[in-house]
Each structure stands twice: as structure tokens, then as C-alpha cells.
Amino acid sequence: MPDTQLSPGAIARLEEIRIAAESAIDKQAALGPDVDITRFKTVSEQQKIETLESLQKQVKETVIHSGFMADESDRSASYFQMDRTPIYERVQKAFDDAIEITSTEDALRLWPEEMIEKYWWRAVMPDKDKYTALVALHQTEGYFIRVKAGRKVEKPIQACLFVSESNVSQNVHNIIIVEDGAEANVITGCNVHVDVKEGLHAGISEFYVGKGAKLTFTMVHNWAADFSVRPRTGVVVDDDGVYINNYVLLTPVKSIQAFPVAKLVGKRSTAVFNSIVYGLKDSIIDLGSEAQLIGEGSRSEAVARTVSMDQSTVYSRGRLIGRTNDCKAHLDCRGIVQSAESTQWAIPDLASEGAPGAELSHEAAISPIAAEEIYYLMTRGLPKDEAVSMITRGFVNIDIPGLPDVLRKQIDKAIEETSKEAM
């Protein structure tokens, strides 16, 4: 936490955050199964490392599934947090003056006034529920990424939040700032060590997309079957800014509930949400997104594809709120239920608040692959199981900009495995 030279305003604001959080520490979330947060101890300190190559082999192999590469030649910057410690933070030489990457607690120490005034708990409220409160009161770092004005960084910036112990909670607070006219492509993976069983990940993410800036944010979750995950994300997009959110979940999880909110305050600002979700084992998955169309000419699109297997329960939500006359948004969520023991909900939710000109629409569907389509592929010589997997792959193969190849391959593999099971 920052030192003593803080302005009275900043001190008052931190106090306000603390009080708000304390009032909400027992507040259940509106959605998702309740998690008893008192059962977990906070994650431990770990040793810093000099190079990503020096990570344990098993760790490297785990994180690669979420697009995190120990070989940084295709990355512009990296952040690796093991449990509570940022063990590695590096910007590649060519991007030295374009990117800042550090832990959020260090960012708060380095630029306390600016952080508190503009970014610290400004896009997510600390008293939203017990998980935001937990992070506000017992934060265990998180990444801070800033891309400087006008700098268009194509090479991905990668961040990994790793949990290596069981029965802990990792309470991260992440902040990404893409300044005016800048562009960034951030890939974050949340992973747990293969031996980890129970645990909680509470992750606050606050993203700020400047005027004419663009942030492509890809998140891949790779959890353990007994892990509970409660991300809370708020994104603020300024004039002509573009925010693209890609989310991929291919592994079982105890429960995950997330509902990122994009506030499109800027004129002609845009938010796009793409998600591919596999419901496996007895996972309880409750995911969605909200776009608040506030700025004149704002646009949003949410595309979700869900395949559920086994005993999984999946909620796919999407909310569009039009608050200006000139705005337009569309939701497209489709699901395939591949097991008689699985449940899926598709819940589109549209509101025009005092905006008679708002154009909001949705298509939601839950249906099996049409037999007619399977037979069609079979008439070209493809066996039934391959036909099913090809169509399923097509179903989830939404156009995801910035999705790393390794992830595309992962998705293909998951589809192949699950289509065989579904036969």
C-alpha cells in the first residue's frame, strides 16, 4: 500500500473503499452458487525467477494450454504470478517505451495519486459482493499493464495467474490501461497446478480503453475440478475505442460465475464479447456479459457458443442496455446439450432505458446438431463420429480475432474428444 505522502483526497478514497468492502464481506453474489470464503487461507509467497524457461517443466506445460509461452519471441511483454508473488515481469526490448507491466500493488506504490483518482476501483465497485470485498480487503497482487498513447502493439502481451497450492484463495486485482490511440492484444491464462484440488480465485479486472484505442483481451481458464472462480470485470471505453473480449473454458471447474460489464461511455465506442464454453463433469458455469450503450453511436455484439456434457450446468447470459438513441447491439448465443444429464440455460436480457432509438436484438438457441447435416457430410464419405465433430467444431468455430494458434488447437482437441464421447 502507498506511503504517507498521499493527498487527503486519496486517503479518503482508500478509506471509502475499505469501508464499502467491509460492509459487503458477507454479501452473497446475485448469481452463482455461494462460496464460503472463510474456508480458504491466502496464497503464499514464492521465489522470483530470472527467466520463464526456469519454470518447472510441469508448470510450463500447463500454462501453454492457455497460450502462455515460456519462449517470449512472439510476445511483447510477460507477467507471471505464482500464488501471491509476481515472480516474473518483463517487457521485451523493442517495446520498452510502449508498455509498462508490473503488479498492481507496485503500480499503486509508483503512481498512487493517478491510480487512485482514475483507475483504482473505478470500473468495479468494492461492495458489489463478498468476492469484490475479499479482494479489496485482502488483495494478493494482480497485473498492471499500460500501453502508452499512440503505440500499437501487435505482439501479444501475456499474463498468467497461477495457483500451486490447494485450499487457498488467490485474490487478484488487475488493471489494464490502453491509452488514447494505442492498441494492445492481451492474453491471460489462469491456471492451477495439476495437483491442486480445492481453491478460490477471486479476480477483479478493471480495463480502461482510451480514445481511438483498442484492447483485445483473451482469457483462457484452465482450472481444477474443485476450484471456484469468481472474476469481476469492468471495462470503460472512450470515444472510438474498441474492446474485444474473448473467453475460452475447456476444462472442468467446480463453479465459475462471471458477468463482465462494458461501459461504452465514448461516442462510437464498441464492445465485442466472444465466448466458447465447454461444460464438463459436474461443472456449474454461469457466464455472460453486459454492454451499457451510453455514448452516441456505440455498438456491441456478443457471441457465445456452449457445448455441455456429463452432469454440467451452464448458464449463458447476455445483457444489452441502451441508454442513448443512437446505439445498436446484438446477442447471439447458441448451445448444444450433449448429455441427458446436463442442463443449459440461455438468458438474453435487453433493455432500452429512455432510448427510443436503441436497436437491440438477440438470437438464442439450444438445439442438437441437425441429423440432416450429419447425413449430408456422411454422403461425402465421412464416418458419423467425424461428421459430428466437424459440425461441432464449426459450431464453436466463431471468428475470434487474436486467438493464438495453440488455443485453436486446444479447442479442436476438446471437440474431438467430446464428440467421440457423445456418440
Partner: protein, 257 residues
């Protein structure tokens, strides 16, 4: 390999087929030799598509009597894909759209593997596929596009027996010429992979397609049977002036049974 196959390519014997609890085909007999192109005529709803769908093995078409032999093998217990790999191909009248599966992928499936770029380029040139290659197959395709896409898939598959369900329906004259050209290439062309001479069975209402494809013989499917056969152009002419009812009684027809 081919010389080991003594008999005809396709033999259909006394075939009875029901859809739901309705019997549609009531004793169809048909023999197609290698290299032959046959035409199937008949009134709407008469069961022409039913016959083709039964040959390819579509579920829902229940064979209640008789049998189909392809290359001497009884097809009864073979799945759709097994029949396709044996060498049966079909161009559907109204193929279903498949979201997320591009035409290019369908060509790869049909050709069983990667299709060389120059092979794709040849198909593209012949059938004017253009941007269709990267579109989801049949998704929003116009009538002509859907037919060209079906033809491209057959040309990639190169089946020994090609079945065409109304290849000219809903297609303008320019497209009929393109589709007809492709059918010709498939049935008679030199771009053959195997030594076998391909055979075809074409359903047509109007006979327009026969301006581009030479057919050897036509059959009229009437009352669930192949009521007569004869020269394709003569039969079409007779039907267009006198109708099916008169045709099956007329002297042009060689009655089969």
C-alpha cells in the same frame, strides 16, 4: 481390381420402400452398367428422390422388400458413409446448410484429404466457385450456387455412380450450362482417377440438362414402379405433349415386366 467385378455396377431388384407408414416404391427394378447414364422421369411426388435417397442409405427410407446391389455387394447393412466410400455420390436437390463448415472443407472430405490448390483452382474455374469456397456450405447460397457447390463436391469425390436430383431446378440457363458441363466432365470426361467408366442416374423434370449431358436411357417412375423406359429425348417430348398418364401407355415405352 475392376476386371474382378463381373456384373453390372448397380442392380436394383423388386425394391419396396416405405417412408413412415406409406409405401412409396412398390417393386422397382433397375440395372445400370458401367459407363451408362440413365434418366429418371415421373410425376411430382412419385418417389424419384425416394429412390435416390434409398440408394445412398438415408435413414427414414425403409426397405421393406427387394435389394440393392452395388458392385455386387448388397447395400442393406452399409451406412451412408460406407456406401459413399464404395463409390456412390449424390448431388442433392436441396442440400442442407451447415453452419461453420465451409465448402472448401466439404471438398476435402469428398476427396478424402487435402485437396491440392491446383485441383481447387480447376474446380473453381469450371464451376465459378470464387468466394463460395470460404463460405459455410449452402448457407445463403442461391439456387445456382447450391447446384455448383454440389457439383464441385461430386467432382472432388469422383464416385463411380453419380446420382443427380433435379440438377437444373431453380437454376437459370447460364448455370444449367455450367452444371451440365460439370456433369459431363464427371460422367464422360477424361479427368478420371480410376480406370472405371463412371455411371450416372439423373432425375429431371424438364430435360433441359440433357442438352449438355448425353443420356443412354430414360425410365418413368409411375405408381411406385418403373413403368417404362425408352430414348430420353423421345420420352420427354411425349410426356410434355401428352402427360405421364398417356406416356406410360404409349408405344414409345418398352414395358419392363
Amino acid at each position: 481390381m475392376t476386371s474382378e467385378l463381373p456384373g453390372p455396377l448397380l442392380v436394383i431388384e423388386d425394391l419396396h420402400v416405405s417412408v413412415g407408414d406409406r409405401e412409396i416404391l412398390r417393386g422397382v427394378d433397375l440395372t445400370i452398367q458401367e459407363g451408362e447414364t440413365h434418366v429418371l422421369l415421373g410425376p411430382n411426388g412419385g418417389g424419384k428422390s425416394t429412390l435416390l435417397n434409398t440408394i445412398v442409405g438415408m435413414p427414414g427410407y425403409r426397405v421393406t422388400g427387394g435389394r440393392i446391389l452395388f458392385k455386387g455387394v448388397d447395400l442393406a447393412d452399409l451406412e451412408i458413409d460406407e456406401r459413399a466410400r464404395m463409390g456412390i455420390g449424390i448431388a442433392f436437390q436441396r442440400p442442407p446448410a451447415v453452419r461453420g463448415v465451409r465448402l472448401r472443407q466439404m471438398l476435402e472430405v469428398a476427396a478424402r484429404g487435402e485437396v491440392a490448390e491446383d485441383a481447387i483452382a480447376r474446380l473453381d474455374e469450371e464451376l465459378n466457385l470464387g468466394h463460395m469456397l470460404e463460405r459455410d456450405v449452402n448457407m445463403g447460397f442461391s439456387g445456382g450456387e447450391a447446384k455448383r457447390s454440389e457439383m464441385a463436391q461430386l467432382l472432388a469425390q469422383m464416385p463411380d455412380l453419380a446420382l443427380f436430383d433435379e440438377p437444373e431446378s431453380g437454376v437459370d440457363l447460364d448455370n444449367i450450362a455450367v452444371v451440365g458441363g460439370a456433369m459431363n466432365a464427371l460422367l464422360k470426361g477424361e479427368a478420371r482417377i480410376s480406370e472405371r467408366t463412371r455411371a450416372g442416374l439423373i432425375i429431371t423434370h424438364t430435360g433441359h440438362i440433357l442438352e449438355f449431358v448425353n443420356a443412354d436411357v430414360a425410365h418413368v417412375l409411375y405408381s411406385g414402379r418403373l413403368a417404362c423406359k425408352g430414348n430420353p429425348l423421345d420420352l420427354i417430348e411425349e410426356i410434355s405433349s401428352h402427360g405421364y398418364d398417356a406416356c406410360v401407355e404409349c408405344k414409345l415405352c418398352q414395358t419392363l415386366s
